[in-house]
Symmetry: C2
Subunit: 342 residues, 2 copies
Amino acid sequence: MIIDIHGHYTTAPAALGAWRDRQIAALQDAGPAPSASELHISDDDIRETIESNQLRLMRERGSDLTIFSPRASFMAHHIGDFQTSSAWAAICNELCWRVSQLYPDHFIPAAMLPQSPGVDPATCIPELVKCVEQYGNVAINLNPDPSGGHWTSPPLTDRSWYPIYEKMVEYDIPAMVHVSTSCNACFHTTGAHYLNADTTAVMQLIQGDLFKDFPTLKLIIPHGGGAAPYHWGRFRGLAQEMKKPLLDEHLLNNIYFDTCVYHQPGIDLLTRVIPVKNVLFASEMIGAVRGIDPTTGHYYDDTRRYIDSTPYLTDEERQQIYEGNARRVFTRLDAALKARGR
Amino acid sequence: MIIDIHGHYTTAPAALGAWRDRQIAALQDAGPAPSASELHISDDDIRETIESNQLRLMRERGSDLTIFSPRASFMAHHIGDFQTSSAWAAICNELCWRVSQLYPDHFIPAAMLPQSPGVDPATCIPELVKCVEQYGNVAINLNPDPSGGHWTSPPLTDRSWYPIYEKMVEYDIPAMVHVSTSCNACFHTTGAHYLNADTTAVMQLIQGDLFKDFPTLKLIIPHGGGAAPYHWGRFRGLAQEMKKPLLDEHLLNNIYFDTCVYHQPGIDLLTRVIPVKNVLFASEMIGAVRGIDPTTGHYYDDTRRYIDSTPYLTDEERQQIYEGNARRVFTRLDAALKARGR
């Protein structure tokens, strides 16, 4: 079984974007925001966008199940205030839940949070609780920079984030540390801001001692960990200078890297440097890079090909990356699969 | 011959830091700034700090010549205004020039610029001219984020940077794109801000068309290019979606990556992915990572060992990375060496 732990509903029906546009326009005009009931998306609308896109490619590439969350770049937590994010997150999370209800064998949801710059992260708890308890979400996406490229929130090790971590530990759900769109002209969203956030998160976790306070907390660093595995020597050396434990102990009982690295040498490095137990299969399909690599003739984001081809894994290790690790890290996914006899 | 293109005077005599502290204190008290003449550093002071540190390690590791610039994290362009940076840059650049005068076989200077947030980069030209014409500098360090982690300047492709590029082209000197200390709590200076800036710069250059306007401009992306080589597939794919030329043509006639990557797998990836002509030997010694790697028993930043051991280079290619590329990119270095019969 092949589990892709990083997929977003990037192909949602156009009505979703139109509703969001109206919500943003209302902010600008200080007019009344549209209500959630004004958004109409039918099951057929959902089926059409999923079957012709994600599900088609999953079948072509041979992956079975995707952990599916709202489109990351559209979370745009910097827009409006908590009410804005709250209404938007509720709509997006409901939509991913509906996808999982229509295709229970192929999609299981992960939630976005209604974060807002300068607002206490604890305000996200009710949406988180709803998504886990009512929608069967198996994970959350946590944005370390709700400002969208201005980095005005404190590091992830700050106590203001702790209410989220407490709830994660209680439910035993992991968080993917994932920023949203950049509204800073310096940072291209998917080419700079995403990767920078991944690198930044790893370094914040090295500087702090978060996992002493939360020994069972699980964080996923997407996009192959940003720059971290490529610069693993640098990170080991910096941790050493800060008198931190070896990274195996300091980080690798709690953090995981996904395989959203879109060429063979990158996956070779990842699987050579990072222990197998800390690597989770993912493609972020359909996402930032949708084209075909002219040097291989295959989609850049068809990451399964790289995993299958890397010399740094045995078949058994490959299966850990495809399935075993995901079932260990996303315990609610494992329970849901077992309940269905898988 | 082995040329290290990335060294900073991180070990400057304590009097330098004390002068800077007085300069900063004067800003806080709105008192008079210390004058440059109040700083006293003798040739013996310089000799002591260089011979016991950089020169000792160069001899141990077998590198011959270092392109030497002021300590990057101490540039701190966010402090004070243009006058503050101007006085500070003049002092630091003079000091690196003195090192090069005392050890002409081993050090040649590269200049920091008196950048200041919100100030027109053109104001840096007089210092740049002085450093090239009077001090024999062969390159500059250009800070894409003088705010120190708030990223308030426009991208490097913005026309406000063009006066610097025009002068670089006129003198045929490259710039290393190098940020300074981070005053944003989210970003660890050497573990996050440096790498993020490298990644960010590469993506800015992909988004723009800077090298159409400046076909002979040369930019060095330090720290192995941040996350870029590890995510080269992602960057190729993003460029493709933006209808840009292939990166070989779009970037690789103008940008270079150094080898400040502190473990073997990282250097293996760099030399496998990036053409040899675009890789420049460097260690950033004595810099961010000063310890000994317990897994190898050698200094993390002894990058020559990784270059010597990588299977992705022939001996001839290794020599290009150690010497040939540096002489081609830093033409004023090559001229200076030839003038000395080297």
